[in-house]
Symmetry: C2
Subunit: 634 residues, 2 copies
Amino acid sequence: MRRPFSQILLGRPLETAEASHQAIGKLSGLAVFASDAFSSVAYATEEILVVLALAGMVYLKISIPIAIAISMLLIMLTISYRQIIFAYPDGGGAYIVARENLGDHAAKVAGAALMMDYVLTVSVSMSSGVAQIVSAFPVLENFRVWLAVILIGIMTWLNLRGTRESSEILSIPSYFFLLMMFITLVGGLLRWVSGTLPMVEGVEILRDVTQPISLFLILRAFSSGSTAMTGIEAISNGITAFKEPRQKNAATTMLYMSATLLLLFLGITVLAHQTQAIPSPAETVISQIARTVFGRGILYLLILASTTGILILAANTSFAGFPRLAALLASDGFLPRQLTIRGSRLVFSWGIMGLAFLASLLVVLFQASVHSLIPLYAIGVFLSFTLAQLGMVLRWHKVSKLRTKKENDAFEPSIIYDRQWRWKQLLNAFGAFITLLVTIIFLVTKFEEGAWVIVLLIPILTWIFFRFQRHYLEVASELSLAGVHKNIGRRAVRTILLVDRLHASAIRNINFLLSLGISWEALHVSIDQDRTEELLRKWQDRFPEHPLHVLPSPYRSLTQPLLDYIVEIRQENPSAFIHVILGELVMESYWEQALHENSALVLELALRHLDGVVVTSVPFQLNRLRKEDKLNSM
Amino acid sequence: MRRPFSQILLGRPLETAEASHQAIGKLSGLAVFASDAFSSVAYATEEILVVLALAGMVYLKISIPIAIAISMLLIMLTISYRQIIFAYPDGGGAYIVARENLGDHAAKVAGAALMMDYVLTVSVSMSSGVAQIVSAFPVLENFRVWLAVILIGIMTWLNLRGTRESSEILSIPSYFFLLMMFITLVGGLLRWVSGTLPMVEGVEILRDVTQPISLFLILRAFSSGSTAMTGIEAISNGITAFKEPRQKNAATTMLYMSATLLLLFLGITVLAHQTQAIPSPAETVISQIARTVFGRGILYLLILASTTGILILAANTSFAGFPRLAALLASDGFLPRQLTIRGSRLVFSWGIMGLAFLASLLVVLFQASVHSLIPLYAIGVFLSFTLAQLGMVLRWHKVSKLRTKKENDAFEPSIIYDRQWRWKQLLNAFGAFITLLVTIIFLVTKFEEGAWVIVLLIPILTWIFFRFQRHYLEVASELSLAGVHKNIGRRAVRTILLVDRLHASAIRNINFLLSLGISWEALHVSIDQDRTEELLRKWQDRFPEHPLHVLPSPYRSLTQPLLDYIVEIRQENPSAFIHVILGELVMESYWEQALHENSALVLELALRHLDGVVVTSVPFQLNRLRKEDKLNSM
């Protein structure tokens, strides 16, 4: 059997029943969902230093207290997200929590915020990955954008093949990164303790002080560093991808992930401080630390390779999360319905391709510069964090009512009574307050550098979701059966056979009508006087008992006289169906099809807008059978 | 009534009955069909001088005998084309003559040759027109290509509006050109006779001699100058556009045209010689002559304006001829059938747009340089001249038989006996020989400069015509009714209603089936288990007497299970019609339509390739009526 190109590229189609086999365990889950969180280690420290360097090299040391503040925020978020995982066994994270507890509008805002950050995750991770490559091989400097776009293309292909296969591929580089980071931190620690840790050399020191040190600047550095936390919500969105017991596995994976991230982020920030790494557009901080600790040997190249690897995989978090979120939004009617369709490999193909397109667009627009992309990043995530926590606060409120009103059990069976609801509510409320504060800090400190784009885009996206919703609601209301059932019954049908020439296709049409055994009339639109006369002659010969009605077409249009005629006869009996029979010549190839007038298609597109008009097209395939065979099955 | 944009642009649609009113008289015909021939005066002399200049300025004087040779060729061609006009009252020129007398293959070669030359006429004329403008306004030098393409666009628009209106517009500049040329020639003659004619000054004299003078070079100059004759066949192609008596009017117009062309071409060549005009890429010979005779005053600008005007109009010859020829080729099945369709303004719109596209492409590729385009030009025309004359020789042979066999009258009634057939045959034979010789001279002397392109393209185009012809012949044979009439009769029909959800559109489908009064079965393709169960429940409620058959779709495809099912039931009864009923949701706008799965369209495109399958689509229009109205007409 010949396999189509799409199967060679993507693998054999998977049955729906195979979907559950695609579920992943804790360790694979860490590889698939945590790579985004881990990978931010590659740029979060550096972005803190970039901002502090504006006030002078002497202030780089403030990076340590900033990193500690970020770590505390991370611990708090981990606790509240574990609460969400246990509350929502079917996953969904911020979007679901907001929709269930805060309503449609908050859900749309959360959806818009999350979608934007998924796209930015891909753009930022790929750009940073390319920056690591360029640090090791400066000769590639001019190919940053190309490299990033090609890497996005490869990632898209892997994801179109499906989750399980990709998680197997992805586990190796993910753990390779953790191993290399462990070696880096231990190596750095040993050299520090033994007093042999050198300073970073060969990077141009920035001597220009452009801004005085200020609370604003420190908060801006904090904002940029908080990008370390992006991606930690991925697990709560993807609970359904885990093996059973899903919630427990997901919550445990979340814990592993946060602990690892904390260790890596603090470790790298401390090492950067100890080696006095200097933020530079030419070389990443990870590259500076690695070559300072281990020299420019094979270990240095392995560390950079593993960092590049994890960054590329980070994009994979979005390739897992974005299409799922888009499908959720689409099934709620906020996005085109096609996004809910799983492709032949059980993945949401349209979502994957949409993400790849948008992320590539950003990479090209921002020339693959991490530093230019950072001001847009993480705002969406923190806004969704806030909405999720607010939603949880309301949810605990419902739980509290359970105690008093038992009948709520039936009303909302998903809400389970929890003895410790009061503490958990307090924790979520605190989380909501802190993340709201952080969101505001982000907006204020990064507004001019690019956050204004997000301030514009979130309402625009929300409005677009609203328009989609309104459209689907209107359609659903028009299709709804309320009051329709009483209208089932017979109506008059007027069947009109459109005849152009009297050839084999026309004969097949007539055979079909005779076989149906319904009454019909023949109609011809006269464009060419000679042809019409010839047709009338032939028709008279063969079907003398069946009159052929001729419509004149003074302007040589096939469509307009027919439309006018149908409108006219509809007026005589507005409730009747007008049933138009068209013969359609079907060629084997598109170019052959293009050589014919394809009037069946043109007419069908014109007639479909008339109420009560039904179109039957009788295809007649050419070049497919030998003529004799065809004659036997006219 | 709101007029669509196309009507504002092109004018109101014209009735087929208005076609004959579009016929033109002798003077308008001269403007429409002769502008190509006249306009070549603007570059033919110059192209002779360009070639001769390669051997040195002293050899420019050879232009006079070359021009005389070309004039003799013109006289000979005029006589033979007048014979063609009288022999073929319905027009067609070389293509028709070749087809009638030499057969399909020669006709294809003639068609290919003529079509290429129509395209080149537009490209060369527009490029030369722009060269005149640039001679007067050197500041426009860098906009040559843009100017030429914009002018082609304007010409396209005028032609899409239709023949009569454009011939009125075009008569003025055509006669304006003849007037200005008359003034130039008389002015030049008077100054020459009175001994006050100055020499051309201010043009850089080419001192580099790159080639020795040789027969080859003289023949090449003759080839380039023979472009003066392009376009003289236009009248014989367009006889049907003339007022009655068509043949006499066309033949008289042909005579006027040739005499005028002869006078202009010889006059300009002699004046160029007397003023010692020098071929130059910066200034055209016409510009040099005009400013030398009259100085750089208003008269100079008027002469250049009129030359530019006639060149732009020359392109109009092709815009009149190319679409007619394409329609002829298409009605013979050598080109896509769509080229035979007259648009709302009674012109062959597709041919006009095709010509505009190809000519613009050439202008861009050759950077609007007349000198680069000339080597490709006129070969096609002379090849078609040869074929036409050969065809006429065979035709006179048929006429000679008339004398002996009277019964031929009935066989080929278009052939009228002519007492002087022997002389006329001799004349056409001589013409065929001379034009064949000229074609060979063209090919040999211009081969390296670009004629090789034509040598490649003519067989390729001929082959393409052959493929189109084969396709249409095959289709015609498959559609032919030979042996079919006995196959009229009833066959079994199995009507399958495809149900996705049970909403208003599905109810309308069922109402239609009930109204038709035929037996049917309901079928559902199960992609989502939950949705299928819901549908089965609802179906059981409403149509308990009608079973709903469910097809599983393990790979979530709607199409494949249905195709497999139909193939299966077709095997049970291969002669039966399978009649599939699809509900189709019709939105008001394309973007709304894109928000839905449009499975009716997708299924229809898949099903049309199955023999014996008939598809009925029942449109359900949304947003069009208020819901109450719709309920009344379910």
